[in-house]
């Protein structure tokens, strides 16, 4: 299976949320909050929401109570 390459879509954004068209992987909207983004994407289909960040690497979880 081919991985979904979002590098091009995400490279211009470092904060907030990005709405990406799942078919062509292009950004259709960006906003700092989900509330604002939801207004911008109203009526649009085939959308994926991705948090924008400068860096997605070097992340360790392992969270315990």
């Amino acid at each position: 299976m081919k991985a979904i390459d979002l590098r091009s879509a995400l490279k211009s954004y470092s904060t907030g949320w990005v709405a990406i068209n799942k078919k062509n992987r292009k950004v259709v909207a960006h906003a700092e909050s989900l509330e604002l983004l939801s207004e911008k994407i109203k009526g649009l289909k085939n959308i994926l929401l991705v948090p924008a960040s400068k860096n997605y690497f070097g992340f360790i979880t392992s969270l315990r109570a």
């Binding site: 979904i4 909050s33 989900l34 983004l37 690497f57 979880t61 315990r64």
Partner: protein, 138 residues
Amino acid sequence: MRKYPYYIPQSKVYKPWIPVAIGYKKTHRITPAPITALIDSGSDVCFCSKSIAVFLQVSRKNKERKVFTTANRSKLHTFLEALTLHVGGRHYDCSFYISDELPHETPVILGQLGFFDHHRITFDLENKEIEITYNLDN
């Protein structure tokens, strides 16, 4: 059984993300579109960012509080609420620990309780795919 592709958010970084929607019964709100969620076997529970909780209009009043310890020993302050997890064409009630201290790039973390106990998951990075089977017994 469904197969999901890995995501590449930046060069040489492969993420086991899956698209999920999260809803809240009390307010009848649901995220406006699927959001990328990290499948994380190292997390004991499921986490959700406060930004999503704010959108769903989840109040932290009178909710159970819990403090988690991260891998670098920092503290993660959370409160607990039952949300509806929509994944793979199904949905079910799932307890989420909500925090505004989650890294922004991982607004949803699917951990052992709430996700791994409902699914059988196979990570295949070589083929860039994740195989997820919903466990009907749960």
